[in-house]
């Protein structure tokens, strides 16, 4: 893959991700509303919200928060670029967890009861998801020939969609996506719908542009996650992109459906389920794959 292509892909990501994910979010809200028997807001609502947040007065309990959040955003974008420009998948996962740390630090600087409580839940969520994220990278490494973590090579070297080898990983990954997207039943740290005992969790103390940046960062992150979902489908045949988009949309719809049909569970159960599914689905798949590949 040439440097030019990588640069173009990176720029596409920087510009395109917020637009696409914002729109998906808008449709998500519309769809959720319809599932609840309501009309719901305009599909452009997420953009209105974002713009408004940038325009609000900036108040804060601790100015340190702002630079942490900006760093969070920068790191997410950086990991996204690494992913979409086709670099090392494992490093993308590591970079993502580094960025998550900035979010955590940002939310604790204020020492507010709710954001700190939310932070700890966020940490638990990260702990619940991280094994699966790393395993996905492992899965792709094993599935491609020659073995590689490199996203570009994963795409260019595979004749089939990797999902053929990685069904367990796919199931596990979709499962933790519910946590990553902060959807019910695992919206324990920050909830987009319904009300939360920790108010707005990590974002409780983030006002105006801070909150907007976190939202934006979340969009960028979601783009990466959807990208990984797509990676399960994409192979060197360009038509597989259509399949990837279809699967991404299916996963998106599934997440909305789950969000609307379940109660928020407690973190103990979340941890148990997330790790359980990771162990069973991804673990079995990993074991079989190693047997096949060795």
């Amino acid at each position: 893959m040439t440097v030019q292509i990588r640069i173009i892909l990176a720029i596409c990501y920087i510009v395109g991700a917020p637009v696409v994910i914002g729109l998906l979010d808008g449709f998500d809200r519309k769809l959720s509303a319809r599932m609840q028997g309501r009309r719901g807001p305009s599909v452009l609502q997420p953009f209105y919200d974002l713009k408004k947040l940038f325009e609000k007065e900036f108040l804060s309990a601790n100015i340190m928060q702002l630079f942490m959040i900006r760093s969070y955003l920068c790191f997410i974008v950086l990991s996204g670029i690494l992913f979409f420009a086709g670099f090392d998948l494992l490093l993308v996962v590591f970079a993502l967890s580094t960025s998550a740390m900035f979010l955590i630090l940002a939310s604790t600087t204020t020492h507010s009861p709710f954001s700190t409580q939310g932070t700890h839940r966020e940490l638990i969520q990260i702990m619940a998801c991280e094994p699966m994220e790393l395993l996905v990278a492992v899965g792709f490494y094993l599935a491609t020939k020659p073995k590689t973590f490199n996203v570009a090579n994963i795409v260019l070297n595979s004749n089939y969609s990797n999902i053929v080898f990685l069904p367990g990983f796919f199931i596990g990954f979709v499962f933790i996506l519910t946590i990553k997207f902060r959807k019910s039943p695992f919206d324990i740290a920050t909830s987009h719908h319904a009300h939360q005992e920790v108010i707005k969790g990590v974002t409780s103390e983030m006002v105006g542009k801070e909150y907007a940046m976190v939202t934006l960062a979340e969009w960028y992150e979601n783009a990466i996650l959807y990208g990984i979902v797509g990676l399960f489908l994409i192979n060197k045949n360009p038509f597989s992109i259509i399949g990837a988009i279809a699967v991404i949309l299916a996963v998106w719809f599934l997440e909305i459906l789950i969000d609307n049909t379940s109660a928020r569970v407690k973190w103990q159960l979340m941890l148990k389920l997330a790790w359980g599914v990771t162990l069973v689905a991804a673990g079995m798949n990993l074991f079989l794959l190693e047997i096949i590949r060795s």
Binding site: R34, M35, Q36, G37, R38, N260, T261
Partner: protein, 130 residues
């Protein structure tokens, strides 16, 4: 244990049927006839006895016998309808259509044409909201 996602059916049904949302405020709402919206006065029948003023629980009504006005603070009225019960002339009614929200509280005043000793004179101009 319990079932996994049993609500799915209902949710999907909602998704593919008309939402329950009314189109208010773009379409006006039809209120049932009994709706207790606001107090209306038939100023011609009022005798300025002040019964309504004395009975109103939050004290929303002011009756000024000398100035011959009957006034109501609509931001005070709780639409209980007690005044309509108490009014000896049954000139107060409670009808659908609520007081519109606004940036300031105000008092609606009605000049009552009632002349205590003599027969009623010409009704003065009255301002009633709604």
């Amino acid at each position: 244990m319990g079932q996994i996602l049993p609500f799915t059916r209902q949710v999907l049904k909602n998704l593919f049927s008309q939402p329950a949302t009314t189109n208010y405020p773009f379409e006006p709402k039809d209120y049932p006839e009994r709706t207790r919206g606001h107090i209306d006065i038939n100023k011609d029948a009022c005798i300025l006895c002040g019964m309504c003023m004395r009975s109103c629980p939050p004290g929303a009504i002011k009756v000024d016998r000398a100035g011959k006005t009957w006034s109501i603070n609509r931001f005070d009225c709780i639409q209980c309808g007690y005044c309509t019960e108490k009014c000896p002339k049954k000139c107060l009614t409670i009808i659908p259509g609520y007081q519109e929200p606004g940036p300031a509280k105000f008092v609606d005043t009605v000049e009552v044409p009632y002349e205590p000793p003599k027969p009623a004179a010409k009704p003065a101009a009255a301002t009633t909201k709604n």
